[in-house]
Symmetry: C2
Subunit: 324 residues, 2 copies
DNA sequence: GACCCTAGCTAAACCGGTTTATCTCCGGCT
DNA sequence: AGCCGGAGATAAACCGGTTTAGCTAGGGTC
């Protein structure tokens, strides 16, 4: 420790001085600070983390086929939002299996590489919730639709949002409404399913996986079935756009014969003039970051409910035609 | 070091054994490995990094207003591609100034937090190139259009690509061609400018900044000018889509009265049926990751030229009308 | 004046590895 | 038999901080 020598004090004193802790006189502290800044001193997070302090980074593990990830604007928006509220770095890794994800959390925590982690894509009965508690790893559940054990959570009320969408469609006169869902293993998918089924009069749910292909296939199946719906609610923008395209190809006019609503707004929806459920993903990420930093700082975990997503009505929804 | 005790050897021997280095007998090595695995031992990257070894992470700093970042699918594709080839994690941070970026590289390297970094958004006379050399920080320039000092580089030939786009438009019969460029401080913008001006007969360049607003404004200006171009080449997908929209609003039909080409293909272009210069950003990221890992491993820096982007012709380009 | 307390600082241990210097055998060579 | 060399292992230093125990001097109390 060269500042110690330069300032004529011991390593320990320097540490105390730089970290604003008591044990050194104001005069000494001032001198150390001055020497430190004049030397352009940067404490080594690595060394600091080694002796059990902050790692100055938080982690995020994404379980996806990497190739598919690139089209998911959602996550990047989220990451951008998180970063806007963090002065520390984000340790990011994309893995292909849930086991690898869990393994990574264990490692990162054991190695003091992160101070906390974000948990996304919460599953039904997600094992990670238990893992975090047993590890004592500070974590915040992002978008997990509700409360989870002892973990902090930042979420939007998917149930209420779905209900409002269906109510909106019903108010337009739709009765036969379909939903093209996302991955059924995800908690929020289940939540939306429940809300959908509870408020819809005559509804049908088709499973999807957020890809354009899935959206197209599901839409074709729905439209070619004997009792085609007059409105479809998609679980993301990509599927909705693909669905609109399929409808066009089949000669089904939007919104006259088919109303379309997309979950998650994006440039894609704006351009396609799709009515979309818009949530501010960036702000959501920022909120998640604040929550995690608080937990890392020792605050007791809290649940933050995000504002309800807002339905942006564009050209893709309207009253159903007579045949609907 | 509890494995040392459990295996009945010294710390040093364990280190040698686990890292596959000579100095221990095969018998001892086997015993140590067995004990280690039975104990579920994970070496601490933190501690390891402290005594000057691998940090098991590479860095990426993005200089952007975080809010704008979310719409840039390019970067997320790139990151996804990088991750597909890396077993290590990516340390990601978004900062708002070039100075902060440079400061971060210094810190990360000084603190052994990263083994190397990706350099994106290369500027004309980019100070980072010199910095990397002087720091001795392994780095690879991503998309920097050419060779950079002693640094490894992964790039696509923007010059040739732009030339091919212009040639294509000329072959359709276009003479008056415009270009809506990206940030003029970026090296590849300059490169594309040069190629554009060299091959175009009667061209004009308007500056943009990748946002939809910029694309719209530039397009309106071009179309309302006395000598409107019959074709416009945009520097990214977002601006191109916005441009197409403006054209529609002005009653200029695409592609009859105006041909549109977007740099970088995406869901947006696919859906908007825009002719686009498609590069496989994911594969590009993967290539960059391989290059960086090689440099980190001590390989001498090489330049990897990516395959030439491919022009995907869709409905937005065609022969100019008589008035063109 | 003896006693205690505390502010201010230092020395040293510690975190969990890697690396170097050293030490001990054991075998081969002359 | 004497000498040398190398394999196999260990102890200790080191990386750059934090933290704890301990020391010293000065001030207050009775």
């Amino acid at each position: 420790m060269d500042i110690a020598a330069a300032a004529g004090v011991s390593k320990g004193a320097v540490s105390l001085a730089l970290n604003g802790r008591s044990g050194v006189s104001d005069a000494t502290r001032a001198r150390v600070l001055e020497v430190a800044s004049s030397l352009g001193y940067r404490p080594s997070v690595t060394a600091r983390a080694l002796s059990s302090a902050s790692a100055d980074a938080v982690g995020l593990v994404l379980v996806r086929p990497p190739r598919a990830l690139g089209d998911e604007a959602f996550f990047f928006q989220l990451i951008a939002g998180m970063q806007s509220e963090m002065s520390s770095a984000l340790l990011l890794q994309v893995v292909s299996s849930r086991d690898a994800e869990i393994e990574l959390y264990r490692r990162w925590w054991a190695e003091h590489r992160v101070d906390g982690v974000f948990l996304v894509d919460l599953l039904v009965d997600d094992p990670r919730v238990e893992l975090m508690s047993s590890l004592g790893l500070p974590a915040v559940v992002v978008g997990g639709a509700g409360h989870h054990g002892s973990l902090a959570s930042v979420w939007a009320d998917d149930y209420a949002a779905m209900t409002s969408v269906v109510e909106y469609l019903k108010s337009l006169g739709h009765r036969r409404i379909a939903r093209v869902a996302g991955l059924s293993s995800l908690l929020h998918t289940v939540r939306r399913d429940q809300a959908f089924l509870a408020s819809v009069v005559d509804g049908v749910i088709v499973a999807g996986d957020y890809t354009a292909e899935a959206g197209a296939v599901a839409t074709r199946r729905l439209l070619e079935s004997g009792e085609a719906p007059s409105a479809i609610v998609y679980d993301n923008d990509v599927m909705a756009v693909a669905g609109a395209e399929v409808a066009g190809g089949l000669g089904v006019s939007v919104p006259d014969e088919l109303s379309i609503v997309a979950w998650d707004d994006s440039v894609l929806c704006q351009h396609g003039r799709l009515t979309a459920l818009s949530r501010d993903t960036f702000a959501f990420g920022a909120r998640a970051a604040r929550a995690l930093l608080a937990v890392v700082d020792g605050a007791s975990p809290t649940d933050v409910e995000d504002v309800l997503p807002e339905l942006v009505v564009r050209g893709s929804t309207g009253a159903p035609s007579a045949r609907g």
